[in-house]
Point group: C2
């Protein structure tokens, strides 16, 4: 067995999935710099894997938060599958060590770029889906999820996360202010701003004050780098 072969077996262990067709895994790892033709690189698989990931995360959030409105589900999903989060997961899985890129890309350390790592992770999910079907791919992805779980809960309850952050770092909480309240009683819209030390960190709108606050806190989280 050649080195490549051993490597792929090791990667399968890390991923928690054994491919029936190893060529699918190889293709998922192959960057366009090594195969210009659409059939010879991982870009088509990434297209597929992105959709597999979206459905997996959608299902997960749908089941985990039975009362969360559609808009909140969509926002949470987009935060969970954003490039930086996926690249982080790809690094934990050490995909950068397995990625197959051209010499020019190797010299410029392309395999460490967020966008490339995110693409290869999605391509791998696409390859698992092609190899084993949706339910197996879903299982593998959910096994990679624990890391996300904490982050996603932090996002869902952004207010508590922000509160803890400022209590720990500055020993005082952020301030929420209702700055507008529109519409008739049965169809209200609240606008809330959150600030710290008189600096506005986020603004949110929602059908209740609580939801507007969460939305404002969510904006603030990305401002403070959480």
């Amino acid at each position: 067995m050649d080195k490549g072969g051993r490597n792929l077996r090791h990667l399968e262990t890390i991923l928690g999935y054994k491919f029936k067709d190893k060529n699918l895994l190889k293709l998922a790892l192959t960057h366009r710099s090594l195969g210009q033709h659409p059939a010879n690189n991982n870009e088509r698989m990434e297209f597929l894997g992105d959709a597999v990931l979206q459905l997996t995360v959608s299902t997960y959030l749908y089941e985990k938060f039975p009362k969360l409105p559609e808009g909140e589900l969509a926002k949470t999903r987009s935060l969970l599958v954003r490039e930086s989060t996926l690249a982080e997961l790809a690094r934990e899985l050490r995909l950068n060590e397995y990625l197959l890129v051209g010499k020019g890309e190797q010299r410029s350390h392309a395999q460490d770029r967020d966008s490339l790592l995110c693409d290869v992770l999605e391509a791998i999910y696409g390859a698992i889906y092609l190899d084993g079907g949706f339910e197996l791919a879903q299982k593998v992805i959910l096994n990679h999820l624990p890391e996300w779980d904490h982050k996603q809960v932090a996002i869902i309850d952004a207010k508590s996360t922000l509160q803890e952050h400022f209590q720990q770092t500055a020993k005082k909480p952020p301030v929420y202010e209702l700055i507008d309240e529109r519409g008739p009683d049965h169809d209200k819209l609240f606008v809330v701003e959150v600030s710290f030390d008189n600096e506005v960190l986020g603004r949110g709108t929602g059908p209740t004050k609580k939801e507007a606050e969460q939305e404002a806190a969510r904006q603030a989280l990305s401002i403070v780098g959480l």
Copy 2:
């Protein structure tokens, strides 16, 4: 059995899917005007169904066009699942007759609006996915696909479709013009415009002249209403 019950059985026949849990189908048909709470209307299911549809169409295109680059797959998918196409399919399935909306919405004929019809179709796909899993939902969606098939082939080979259109309606073909050619030999980018009777109908870019022409033709198709 009440009228609603008979109606739902009839709808199941039209859809080609029999629900184990009829409540899922009822919820998929329920517009927000009849249930404000996220758990009492079809918006969350629509969120799920949209992802089911995306993965189904992605897989379909991936398998049907093994050489199509990722960018073309994505464009074709977005054209296939756009609101007007889905609303058209929803009308063929006569979903407007089954949609459950509030009295105000009934008076304003909300159930005939494209956006509502598209939402309810996606919600139904979400409900089938919840009831029977991804593979069954995929089968049902693909059975609804023949109508799309023609359209999608028309989009993939937009040049031929546009050619036929003008031959039939005006007895002469559209004109393609290469207006720019950039980059080194191994990484060219072509820019092409398509026009008819000196009116520019579309502009496309691509790594080959042919791909740039297809892209321009695709733009022109929507201009001429195809």
